[in-house]
């Protein structure tokens, strides 16, 4: 079963966090090691980081179908910072992996315990909808 693990950030969380360099390096090393382990277990489908919210645009189609872009978002909006797609045997395993990512080291090496949203991925639209 495929799951997506989403790491969200608030609008204020744009830019690289102002942590000491060694703490940032430890955080990144943790993520690289965690991804490597998932890959070796055959559970990693993909992992991506997104650019910071200041580069995000909201697009709607105008009346003539042309894109209308807007970069103004409510202060409370949560932005996707990055995600993992994993292929695992159970939701419990998905939650275990999410907990591991949640506890990635932050400033001073203390676990961040950041919230990770976990959602099953649909294999496709229901057949009756096609």
């Amino acid at each position: 079963m495929k799951y997506i693990l989403m790491m969200n950030t608030m609008k204020s969380g744009h830019g690289v966090p102002e942590w000491p360099r060694k703490d940032l390096q430890a955080h990144i090393a943790f993520m690289i090691a965690a991804n490597k382990e998932l890959h070796e277990r055959g559970e990693l489908v993909s992992a991506e980081g997104l650019s910071f919210p200041d580069q995000a645009k909201q697009v709607r189609a105008g009346k003539d179908g042309r894109p209308v872009t807007d970069g103004v978002f409510p202060e409370s909006k949560e932005f996707l910072a990055g995600f993992w797609i994993i292929d695992v045997d159970s939701s419990q395993r998905a939650y275990e992996i999410a907990a591991k990512m949640s506890a990635a080291p932050g400033p001073g090496g203390a676990p961040l315990n950041m919230p990770i949203e976990v959602r099953p991925i649909m294999s496709g639209p229901p057949p009756e909808m096609l």
């Binding site: 697009v59 939650y95 949203e117 959602r119 099953p120």
Partner: protein, 123 residues
């Protein structure tokens, strides 16, 4: 350059969509399918995925002992990711044009467009 196009909505929005006539939903799916085909033909398609319903979402935090703590209670106003497209295009304008087409096919709902983070390899 890779961009992700994010389609989000609230729980109430999802319920409303599911209550629509079947024909209406089929027509929407057909247009989205067509857009995916066009992107494949132009070589811009990387991936697309729909997510399961928000009611199946959990938020997980790691506790001190690393045991996952799950919670499934979200504010009514929370916007959930419904699905995404990843496209590989020459510039942001092209990503916006694709997002505009998806928006147009989906009742002009807003589509968030974000570039993937890239880091230069250390030499």
């Amino acid at each position: 350059m890779k961009y992700i196009l994010l389609m989000s909505g609230t729980n109430a929005g999802v319920e409303g969509y599911r209550a629509r006539p079947k024909q209406n939903i089929q027509a929407h799916m057909a247009v989205l399918h067509r857009i995916n085909q066009d992107l494949t033909e132009s070589g811009e398609f990387v991936a697309t995925q729909g997510l399961a319903q928000p009611k199946e979402a959990k938020v997980v935090r790691g506790e001190k002992d690393g045991v996952p703590v799950t919670d499934g209670i979200f504010p009514e106003s929370k916007e959930f990711l419904l699905g995404y497209w990843i496209v590989d295009v020459p510039n942001a304008e092209r990503a916006y044009a694709i997002a505009g087409r998806i928006s147009s096919a989906s009742g002009n709902m807003p589509i968030e467009v974000r570039q993937f983070a890239t880091y230069e390899a250390k030499s």
